[in-house]
């Protein structure tokens, strides 16, 4: 086995979530990790969040991103750090950080923002704190409308997870 492989970063997606909580960022966990936390046996390589776009929250988010050396994920080798004003618009910001990839989204499918999604979240205990996670029903609803092949591929797993969850809950 090769032993001299250089590790460029130690990916730890749970540490990203914990960091967001500790930085008091208001966010909703969406995407693959939202599905994972609710029991879907899928693997995802990044954390995706939708954040509250209040100026106070943006400041907290920006400070956290700086603390984990976030730079924009790009196909070329240019290193571009975010600016605080990048987060006040309706954009998607995809980052590489020293603890793993993080997608910071102002909205998701159908331009649903934090305010639209917050009523479709469940609260999950994580390392003694509470996080808001987009509920599996809404995840399925959005994936059904998605044109992304990855979403289409995952949909049957999410549907089976919901079926078993509902059966369990009676």
């Amino acid at each position: 086995m090769p032993t001299n492989i250089k590790k460029t970063q130690e990916t730890n997606l749970s540490a990203i979530i914990e960091g967001l909580i500790n930085a008091e960022v208001e966010f909703i966990l969406v995407g693959g990790l939202a599905a994972v936390t609710q029991g879907a046996p899928v693997t995802t390589m990044d954390v995706a969040i939708v954040y509250n776009r209040s100026p106070e929250n943006i400041s907290k988010l920006f400070a956290f991103l700086k603390s984990i050396d976030a730079t924009y994920r790009r196909p070329d080798k240019k290193i571009i750090a975010p600016k605080e004003e990048d987060f006040s618009g309706m954009g998607h910001a995809l980052f590489t950080t020293r603890i793993g990839p993080l997608d910071v989204l102002a909205f998701i499918e159908e331009r649903k923002t934090y305010e639209d999604l917050v009523k479709h979240t469940i609260k999950i205990e994580f390392r003694g704190q509470t996080i808001q996670v987009l509920d599996i029903k809404m995840l399925i609803e959005l994936k059904r409308k998605s044109k992304d092949p990855k979403d289409k591929q995952r949909l049957p797993v999410l549907e089976e997870t919901l079926r078993q969850l509902e059966k369990k809950e009676g």
Binding site: S14, P41, T44, E125, F126, P156, V157, E159, E160
Partner: protein
């Protein structure tokens, strides 16, 4: 050879795997994903290393 018990539903989803994940706590599920990501990255690095070593020889 062991007995092959079919647990897949009509869409090809492994129902047993879903049931296994549902028995875990959310925190355990996140940990399991972290471990999977690490394993994937390690395998990718190993593949890259082998490919580069092959190109050099």
């Amino acid at each position: 050879m062991g007995k092959n018990i079919e647990t897949k539903n009509n869409s090809g989803v492994d129902e047993g795997l879903v049931a296994m994940f549902l028995k875990m706590s959310p925190e355990e599920r996140l940990k399991s994903n972290d471990n999977a990501v690490r394993a994937i990255l390690e395998l990718r690095n190993a593949y890259k290393y082998q490919k580069n070593a092959g190109n050099e020889s």
